[in-house]
Amino acid sequence: MPARSLRAQLLRRLLAPVAVLLALGAASAYRLSLAPASDAYDQALADIALALGERIRVASDGYAVDLPAAAERALRTDRYDTIYYQVRAPDGTRIAGDAGLPDPPEGARAQDGVIRYETRYGGELVHVVAMLVPCGGRICTVQVAETGNKRRSLARTILLSSLVPELLLAAAALAMVWFGVKRGLAPLEALSAEIKARSARDLRPVDAGHAPLEARPLVDALNHLLVRVAEAAENQRRFVANAAHQLRTPLAGLQSHTELALAQELPPACRAELEQVHRAAIRTARLANQLLALARAEPGGVSAERFAPLDLRSIVEASADEWVHRSLARGVDLGFELAPAPVRGDALLLREALANLIHNAIEYAGAGARVTVRTGARDGAAVLEVEDDGPGIAPAERERVLERFYRIPGTPGEGSGLGLAIVREIAQAHGAALEVGAGAGGRGCRVVLRFAQA
């Protein structure tokens, strides 16, 4: 199903009912206010009819209306409408006024002594008030009519005056929906921005604090999922760590026994085989250690809360002894240029990163190489770098060497391809930048870790 905008949906659904409501409102307002207004106009016509009725004179030769010309003009005077009238004798003959004004329709009933009706006269719709007035003991009929100009104009005015506020109200309601949805969803946008900005390592629950009540189930479900993902990652991490740890003791036994055997007199062919076994044992042991390190550096294994203020220089100093011996054994000149480099971090992981960097340098720069470990503060960053003057890493390979189990084709030695991947995990755990480049003068390899200075 294509994603649909909540806003558009709401508006679409609201628009029809609002339009209907608007029409109904206008219609009822029109009717409700038009009736009393028409009544008032009809009342004026009835007043005229009454006045005319009083003017009926009964003479011996018949009926007459005593209406001077001035009075008739006054009676007919209206700014907007034409007024007609007709007075009839009890026998129906016209006594005065305009001839042919139609009679009330059949069955029309009097109300308060008058009959109100509409009819056509002189090609126009007219509103008529008919009144029965006593004349000489009998009943005469007075009809007064007027055209509908005033009434139509009034109707327009009423319609307009009720429609304008209702339209405004509807517009306001729709606007409130439009902006209300935006406003209501703003916390969700903030929430998704927060989630987007997260690193894959950050599996902490999302703060539901600002989310609208309606979005809580979503946030809760998301948090629930995050917890399960973290648990799964943690389980896997623990399994790898346990497996690596369980491997260590038997590997130590294997390594020790092969060393003991190699210390004895052996036929040359047997010695060569045993040396292979010994190398494999060492390699496997290193692999187990690296898997453990990797598991430890992965998101579930590191918590930034456990980070403590420490100095990269001290980390290097604490490991120096171990690495000096290994480099001497490999004929590598290992040196140090150490200045204070305060960071916040996990000492265990930082030692591991350093160990992998130095190991790589010693391993791949080869006998006779010069390896230098540096720490210090540079451009506001705490820096740890290991540089060698060996063959270096081609620019095209510098990104790939950070991948797990990747080894540059044709590389001598027996590495696992995990060393720099571990360094990268540890760098990420510390929010540090990792850079693989060439050493001084474009020779060899230099790996730099830049930490936020503490």
Partner: protein, 224 residues
């Protein structure tokens, strides 16, 4: 040298015992913490090699009981677990050194030698290193049986290096060990003392290696 080896993995224990015996040590191997505590109470060992992951009471507990009973024998701990955390805990409890499994045999024998030397230095006033002998009580040095003239600062630097043969010692550590409270000593001065010591000791086959940018290491005596 009498060594108590506490390791529950039979294969590793066998290899270690064989190798230590080949080095000329007497080795008693036990496979549980309880046995270790018992053995250590009955016999005066020169060194205990103690695995942390043991059935029953673990290596930390064994160490705690040994030290709790006032035992001062050197203890080298073996760990298959998180090396640094174990190390910190072990050293807090009074371990003298630690090694992470798996390890190379020569590394272990070197650590064993260093620990034994340190415990002997604590025990007596005589420090020996190949043809070099320091009598710390009389403050007299001999090289190949002949008296060796050492200035006070040279003596102090040599003593620091001798206490940590085959271990890298930083210049800062040397300065700290050599100078008193109010004194100031530059790293350059240390270089001067080391070069004088070299001039006196190298003809006898005793070598002090420079670790570039860091410090020095008195190498194991390889024989004349």
């Amino acid at each position: 040298m009498r060594i108590l080896l506490v390791e529950d993995d039979a294969s590793l224990a066998g290899a270690l015992a064989q190798m230590l015996r080949a080095e000329g040590h007497a080795v008693d191997a036990v496979s549980s913490g309880e046995q270790a505590v018992l053995a250590a109470r009955q016999e005066p060992f020169d060194l205990v090699i103690l695995d942390i992951g043991l059935p029953g009471i673990d290596g930390f507990e064994v160490l705690r009981r040994l030290r709790g009973g006032g035992g001062t024998m050197p203890v080298l701990m073996l760990t298959a677990r998180d090396p640094v955390e174990d190390r910190v805990r072990g050293l807090d409890l009074g371990a003298d050194d630690y090694m992470t499994k798996p390890f190379a045999m020569p590394e272990l024998t070197a650590r064993v030698r260093a620990l034994v030397r340190r415990s002997q230095a604590r025990a007596g006033p005589r420090i020996e290193h190949g043809p070099l002998v320091l009598d710390t009580a009389a403050r007299r040095a001999f090289l190949g049986g002949e008296p060796l003239q050492l200035a006070a600062r040279e003596w102090a630097v040599l003593e620091v290096l001798l206490a940590r043969v085959e271990r890298v010692v930083s210049k800062e550590a040397i300065i700290q060990a050599v100078t008193g409270w109010s004194e100031e000593l530059s790293p350059n001065a240390i270089e001067v003392y080391v070069s004088r010591l070299r001039a006196k000791l190298e003809p006898a086959g005793i070598r002090i290696r420079t670790v570039r940018g860091f410090g020095y290491m008195l190498e194991e005596y390889q024989g004349g």
